[in-house]
Symmetry: C3
Subunit: 202 residues, 3 copies
């Protein structure tokens, strides 16, 4: 369980940094930067918890989340230029984050007895809606609605997890391989600029 907790913390910090950097670009003040970092980091899981009814929402039971998110402020303040020089590693951490958040969100929903297809949807929501809330709060059209493959990578990873659990329930490799699949798809999607445009025939 320890490596999952570590990945969860890394994912939370990286998401928070992405929110704070978005706030810097919009010239928000400290409060705006904190709120945007916070919303990006925990927004997806929070929406999932509210919808499935596990309240108080998850991050309220472990102040490490709040500490890490707050840490993103001085990190961005003092080390912004170093962070911006590390796009590849950040991108990797972000992708680890969405992979992990998808599977954790899916497992949490399943554990309440909800159907696998709802659990799949909640997994994707957990991974992607932090970014949606960040974009809504900074008055922009959510990026994931028109960017390269992002939610779709989570979806495929979530389906792979469900299939693996069906074939071989409880095997620890299920989680690991599904996360790895999300990372792989996302990696090639960014590299090759894959997209899923939706242009109905006229």
């Amino acid at each position: 369980m320890n490596w999952i907790y570590a990945l969860d913390m890394i994912g939370t910090l990286v998401f928070a940094i992405s929110g704070v950097l978005a706030a810097v670009e919009k010239k928000f003040d400290v409060v705006g930067a904190f709120v945007l970092g916070f919303a990006t980091a925990v927004g997806g899981g929070t929406l999932r918890d509210v919808l499935i009814g596990t309240t108080p929402v998850g991050w309220m039971n472990d102040t490490n989340y709040l500490i890490l998110i707050t840490l993103a402020l001085p990190l961005c303040f003092f080390a912004k230029k170093y962070i911006l020089r590390l796009p590849k590693s950040l991108f990797l951490f972000d992708t680890i984050g969405i992979g992990l958040f998808t599977i954790l969100g899916l497992e949490k929903t399943l554990s309440l007895g909800l159907s696998p297809v709802i659990a799949l949807l909640m997994g994707v929501v957990s991974a992607t809606f932090g970014g949606v809330i960040r974009d809504v709060l900074s008055n922009q059209v959510p990026l994931i609605f028109r960017k390269e493959i992002y939610a779709s990578a989570c979806l495929v990873g979530g389906i792979a997890y469900l299939v693996a659990e069906y074939l071989n329930a409880g095997h620890p490799m299920n989680t690991f391989l599904s996360i790895f699949l999300v990372i792989t798809i996302r990696y090639f999607a960014v590299k090759n600029r894959w997209g899923l445009s939706f242009n109905p025939r006229n």
Copy 2:
């Protein structure tokens, strides 16, 4: 109960189509189209369920909602031009949807023991906030805040239902006539471009 379920499904599909078409106009990708269709179709009922505390939210207990909403994607993709030729029938279905969603939302809130005036508000929220969430997610000022009579038709229908229930509790015609009243008001509002502007004296 069967005709109510059928109307609920029709309303859900029509709302989902309206969300997907809004996504097409904004040049969103498949993910954006799905999220916008989903949010439009179940957003109002979801907000109501979260506020009154009946979680997991309603659509999680019946995957037919998810199936119908997903169906809106291929429907819009392959038959967009036919759909756009049917404004009148779509408008009718949409209106049936808001009428029904108002009364169902009102009944659900009442059944929790909340006061009639709160139930009325939650009825209107059920019917209209899917569209509000759709507009917020696509970075627009919500249409119902400045369009012709829409929420107000739901409000009048909801009041009529409460009065009818007070006079003649449990009569099946109460639901039917209230929905019919919403449709009628909305029909004449659109036809005659009724509005409720709010211009305070200076």
Copy 3:
């Protein structure tokens, strides 16, 4: 307890008026004005209640909130010019509102057994997120993300309350002095245009 209830009602009405006036500026209709007034007045407390899981949300149990918010519509319609002439008193009431909402939100969260730091955060959310929701619904970047000291005043008042409770639990002056502190900070922040910009080194 009576003066707290009175301040709560005054804060609710003033927040509702601020929402209705924002709707007037955006040329919304009656529905938009009501929704914006409503969201501004109860949005923060509603988000808090949903996150900590005390549903149905607070204002559903006391229709006085709904009545006062509705009252903001005729008040703004008939007396807009008098209201706009009273910026100072309105500003004072608004500040009383955020001070009180911070402490009440903090106390409610603590009473559920959540940690003080989460309670502090929920106190600030209670006071400030009504305005955030108002701005998101009217398609604007939330003001508190780049305005003068606002959320920060709530934060300091909340910390003072926690310290006072730690030193002298249950003393009625704790609430009073914390609210007074929020008002004082906010007063000097507006007067001297204090801000907390966030400009990372490049």
